[in-house]
Amino acid sequence: MEKLGIDPKILVAQLINFGLFTFIFVKFIAGPFLKIIENEKKKDQERALLAERVTKQEAELANLEKEAKEKIRKDMDAAVAQVRKETAELKKELMHQAQQEAHDIVENAQASMKETKLQFERELKDKLTTMSVLIVKNALKAYLDENMQKSVTDRILKELSNPQAN
């Protein structure tokens, strides 16, 4: 071995040295390093899973949002249709009510006018009658002298004496 240039002592020492190095490397460097790598791998997998879940949830959320929007749109359309229907009914009812009120007002006004006209006619007739009688009284006052008044008295007494003559 010496001829080959190999010193056994040095070889043994190198072997021990290598063994020590291997032990130290495996124990204190390679192990933790591998552990870190494994941890990173695990975290990557978790991140990927999380990302996948997030993507899935985003898709679900987008779907839900779409459904909600669709539902809101349908509800809005239904509400608008209902409001339009109710408005049309209300308009119709108000129109009918207004027409009825207008009709009543016209009828009342006509009745009132008729009544006022009748009242006016009555008053006019009364005034005309009063005035006519007043004119007759004044005319008689100017026209009747004592002889005529005597004739009136005579006529009254004749009628009273013989009531069947009338």
């Binding site: 009555r122 007739k125 009364d126 009658t129 009063t130 009688v133 007759v136 009284k137 008689l140 006052k141 009747l144 004592e146 005529m148 008044q149 005597k150 009136v152 008295t153 005579d154 009254i156 007494l157 009273l160 004496s161």
Partner: protein, 94 residues
Amino acid sequence: MKVDPVLLQEFQKRLEESQHKMTQKVFITSAYKLDTAEIDRILAVFPQIRDKEYENIVDKNLLGGIIIRFGSKVIDLSIEETLDSFLKHIYEIN
């Protein structure tokens, strides 16, 4: 105020007499003075006033006819009354 009872009694007596006279008397109102014949005819028509004292009151405002008053009764036979009755009748028709 105290009133002498004798005086009060006398006043009441005269008032009653006056009222009695008033109720007993007949007032015939006319536009002119009625003559005796007309008065007799009136008394003949109304026997209830025949035996009563009468007074002819001339009212120039009366158009014609006569108004007889005795007691609380009034018999209106004037032209005014006829016209007023006519007027009332017309009002009722209206």
